[in-house]
Structures are given as C-alpha cells and as structure tokens.
C-alpha cells in the first residue's frame, strides 16, 4: 500500500508535475461591493472556505465626500444642506444634533413649539429611514412583499414630511434655532390618520414577515453578538439594544422635549440577527405613540424659530451633542474659534461604529447568511463614509 507521499515521490522520479493543494487553494477571496446593490456602495473583502466565511475586511470610502472638511469652509447655517446628504432618508436627525451643538455654542434658546415640531419631524423621518431599511432587509432575504410594502408605506411619512417641509427627502428643516417653518393647517388630523393606518399595517408586517417560519429560520440564532462584546465593540442603536442593553439617547440624555414624552426603550436580549431586525420594528411601533403624544402636547401657537443674527457665532469653545437617529447615537463634536465658521466638525455616526461588528459577526457564518448579517447591522454606507 503506497501512501500519498510515496506516490508523490514516485511521480517526481518519473518527471511528472504534481502540485499539491495548499491552504490558499481552498480559500476563495470575494469582493462584495462597492457597486453591488447587496452592499450599497461599500466594499468588503471576504474569504470563503467552501460555504463558510473565514475572513472579512471592510473597506469603506467609496462614497466619502469629506463632509467634515467642507464644514470648515461654510457658515454654521450654510452647513445644513450638505450635512444631510450622508443619509438623506434620515435628514432631520443628522442635522438635529448639529443644530443642538451649534445652539449650545452660540447660546440660542429654541422656542418650545419649535422644539416640538423638530422632534416631530425627526420621528417621522426615523420612520422613513427604518421603513427603507426594512424594505432592503426584506428583499435581501428574498421576501419581495417585504420590499413592496414598506416602500409603499414609506410614502405615508414622506407625504407628511413633504407637507411639513416642502421636500420629499432632503428637508433642510432642522436649523440652529428651531425649524424652518410652522406646520401647515390640518396637519395634525392628517398625521394622526396616517399614523393610525400605519399602526394597522405594522401588525400585518409582523404576520407576513417576522412571524414567517422561513424568516425565523434564517435569522434566529445567526451571528449572535453577546452583551459583553456589544459593549466592547461600542456598537450603537438597534444593534446594541438587540444585545440586551436598553440604551437610547432619547431616554439616556433627553434632548429638547423628550423628557416630557412617555415611551419605553425597546430592546431584546438574544443578540442574533432576528433581534437586530426586530428592534427597529419595535422602535417604529413606539415611534407611532411618540408622534401622537408630540401632536397632543405641542403648544398651539408661538414662535417656531429663534431670531438669529445673520452669521451666528459664539465665543470660542466646543460642544458634543447627540441624538438618537435611525442608526443609533448620532453625535457632533463642534469646535468653534469665535468665527462664524466652525473650526472643526466631527460627525460620529452609528453606522461607522457598527461597521466594527461586521468582521466580528461575519467570520464563521455561511456565505448565504451574509446579507442577513450585514443588513441586520443597520449600516448605512454613505453615512459611515461621510
């Protein structure tokens, strides 16, 4: 009985060329993105051994725009329209914390009605973002209905925001000092009606998607992120809440009028793909209640915006303010040197933080689970790149 080694030696004597398989031959390197819709303008390299992912290296930057540098060339108000570009589906939230930081630096007092309206706009906008995310999550798990329904229902909120701000996605509505304009006549009734309808729809989402056995099988127990690791990796938003940490900036550090609103922080303890996809859904449910409360508690009249000098500027100093966006804590670190232009603006986004969990979670998973894991991180590439 000749062993493989003997055969190998023998073939050498005969002058035959036999190439032995090495580790590298078994691994295949795949580049996911940046133009493939499955990753959304974000590239990550993975290596697969058969069906299993054994290596993952994110390579962001495909849509890097230099937002932080651009901020240094513009006045604080001029920065608003371009700062919302990184995540146009959630444009009210990304300008919200910027406004808070500028208000702290310049010393602006926002009228109460203005605070309510911008909280309302941000809640509506968070729904728009989460529905868009849910549509993508649905289609990448092969569920076409879950692509169509949220995309359609998203129009409910887009219409509301259009009535409120005049634009469908890029609103430039939150500005330092309040909001750009007051709410139109009859907005409250329309808003309540559409939100009530949406609440009914959410039940149907649950039936057709979250309770579907196929979806459960594909997500439950997949890519578990434990509580300790979630803290260690410093992930944000729905990802950290899915791992059993009830951390929501609206509760932890209530900004504007959120301390007057009654709501619960939604979280789950399992930390798998299912929890990460279900927590945003629970957030949407809770957000409907918040919207109704905001409409009820809003002062009926009053200013919506503080009067500002043409080029608002404050004394030198710095501020770090956060809000809860659709993808978790969204912070702005703004340094001012006393001129109307910010000296330095650093945007800290949940997407960028959640990216760190991607290689951690992906390694060891099957290639077929890659979309389920990747999109469960609530990752928005354009926002992470800034």
């Amino acid at each position: 009985m000749t062993s493989l080694e003997d055969k190998f030696e023998e073939s050498k004597k005969l002058g035959l060329q036999i190439v032995r398989e090495t580790e590298d031959d078994r691994l295949m390197t795949l580049s996911v993105g940046p133009q493939h819709p499955g990753s959304g303008h974000f590239r990550f390299t993975i290596k697969v051994d058969g069906d299993y992912i054994v290596y993952c290296d994110p390579d962001p930057g495909y849509v890097h725009r230099g937002e932080e540098k651009m901020c240094e060339y513009r006045n604080v108000i001029q920065n608003i329209p371009h700062l919302e570009r990184p995540v146009i589906h959630d444009s009210n939230n990304i300008t919200y914390s910027y406004s808070l930081a500028i208000e702290e630096l310049v010393g602006i007092e926002v009228p109460r009605r203005g605070q309510y309206i911008r909280a309302l706009a941000s809640e509506l906008n968070r729904q728009v973002y989460t529905l868009y995310w849910l549509a993508i999550y649905g289609i990448f798990l092969g569920h076409s209905t879950m692509f169509m329904w949220p995309t359609g229902d998203r129009e409910l909120f887009i219409d509301l925001l259009e009535a409120l701000t005049g634009a469908r996605v890029t609103h430039a509505f939150n500005i330092p000092g309040g909001v750009r304009n007051d709410i139109p006549d009859g907005f409250k009734d329309r808003c309540v009606r559409q939100v009530r309808y949406f609440q009914k729809r959410l039940k149907e989402y649950e039936d057709i998607f979250y309770n579907m056995p196929l979806f459960r099988q594909r997500t439950e127990g997949v890519a578990v992120l434990s509580k300790e690791d979630a803290v260690k990796l410093g992930v944000a938003g729905s990802v950290v809440r899915a791992s059993g940490i009830p951390y929501d900036i609206r509760k932890a550090e209530p900004y504007d009028i959120y301390n007057e609103i009654d709501f619960k922080v939604q979280y789950m303890k399992t930390g798998d793909c299912f929890a990460r996809s279900y927590v945003p859904f629970l957030d949407m449910k809770e957000s409907c209640y918040i919207i109704e409360q905001l409409l009820d508690k809003m002062p009926q009249s009053g200013e919506v915006r503080a009067k500002l000098q043409p080029n608002p500027k404050g004394p030198p100093g710095e501020a770090y303010r956060r809000v809860e966006s659709g993808r978790g804590a969204l912070g702005y670190y703004v340094v001012s040197d006393g001129t109307p232009k910010p000296y330095r603006v650093k945007i800290s986004v949940g997407s960028f933080r959640n990216m760190l969990a991607l290689p951690y979670l992906l390694v060891g998973q099957k290639l077929a689970d890659m979309p389920a894991v990747y999109w469960s991180l609530n990752y928005w590439p354009v926002e992470a790149d800034r």
């Binding site: 890097h64 010393g107 951390y247 550090e253 504007d256 301390n259 770090y320 804590a329 340094v335 800290s348």
Partner: protein, 207 residues
C-alpha cells in the same frame, strides 16, 4: 465598575443642558486649558460661569485622586467632562477610566489641528453602557502631540471600539498610533498622495 462615590446628586436627566448659555470651556478652578488657539480666557463672556455640577465634579475628583496633577481638567460642564493627559500616560488613564469608572466604550475619536501651537489634539469621547447613571455623560479624554512628528500610543488594547476611529484619525490627520495594527488607508482613495486632509494647511481646491 466600582465606584466609591455615592453621589445622591444625579444630574437630573430631566434638565438637559440645552441652551443654558454659551460657555467656553470652563477652567473650573483648575490650571487653565492649554494656552492656545483654544478658549481664549481673555474673551470672557458677560454671563457668569455656572457652577460645575456636583456629580461631574465627583467624577473628576475621583480621577484626580488617582493621578494627581498630571491630569489637566479642561472643563466640567453638565454631562460633559474634558480632561487632558500626557501622551505617555494615556493608556494608564484610559485603563483606569474603563476599569474603575465604568466608561466602557468610545463613541468617537477625532482630532483637531492647531497649527498655531504646532500641535494636534486627539480626542476620545468615552461613554458608558453598563453604568446607568453615566448614560448621559461623555468624558472627553484628550492628548496633544506635536504636528511634525505626530505620534500617540494606541488605545486599542483598552477600548476595542477605537479601532476604526483611530485608523480614520491616522489618515485624516496624520497621527501615527503606536501599537495599532493597521495605520493605513481607510476612507480616502487608494492613490491619495497629499497631506492628511483635515490638517489646516490642506486646502480644498478653489477655496
């Protein structure tokens, strides 16, 4: 996460410090901030400085008790503390903050270029998930390094969460993090051949 402080005075979560007043970093009875492009103490605003809140003060006392005068407290504001340390002690301080104070993750790492001082300030915004009373707080840990030879020890062994942030800071500001496994290209194009873009001497073309 043990604390020997039992501060009954928790900064009321119901009163966020929204527009209390524009206040420049308050050198609260401590050595003034790095004399620099930073808060000119000459530009004293007309309003008087609000007293530093007791809970934040307690946290700072705790740090000062451990490290003494090597820690510079830049300001104490409601929910926000900024301290500055020497580069060679930053790992030690960060370890203490993580193990004894409960600041368990870094939310963001950024840097600011101060060409007038010839320095770059790297700032770590540390937050806490595990300690509920610190949920609203951000502790800013900063260190300054010279612009010409910008080097700092990495905090990756203390806070895993800084990995990508430090990489970003490396390419955007050119601060080399000693001990970081990958000081290389991250967000910028692969063929980027210019100075780090967030340095002040980098100008956007045409501006």
């Amino acid at each position: 996460m043990s604390t020997n402080k039992d501060e009954p005075e928790k900064p009321a979560a119901s009163s966020p410090p929204i527009p209390s007043a524009a206040k420049p970093p308050a050198p609260a009875a401590k050595p003034p901030a790095p004399a620099a492009a930073k808060p000119a103490s000459g530009a004293q605003p007309p309003k008087k400085e609000p007293e530093a809140p007791p809970f934040e003060k307690g946290l700072v006392e705790e740090i000062k008790k451990k490290f003494g005068e090597s820690i510079k407290v830049v300001f104490i504001k409601p929910l926000r503390i900024k301290i500055q340390v020497e580069p060679n002690s930053i790992v030690e301080v960060a370890t203490f903050l993580r193990d004894s104070m409960g600041f368990d993750h870094a939310e963001s790492v950024g840097g600011t270029d101060y060409p007038k001082d010839g320095q770059i300030e790297v700032i770590y915004h540390l937050g806490s998930y595990t300690r509920e009373d610190l949920g609203a707080h951000i502790l800013s840990l900063t260190a300054r390094t010279s612009r010409d030879d910008a080097r700092l020890p990495t905090l990756i062994n203390v806070y895993k969460s800084v990995e990508y942030h430090e990489r970003e800071t490396f390419e955007m500001l050119g601060v080399y993090f000693e001990g970081h496994p990958r000081n290389d290209r991250f967000l910028l194009p692969e063929d980027w051949a210019d100075i780090p873009p967030l340095r002040k001497d980098f100008r956007i073309k045409g501006r």
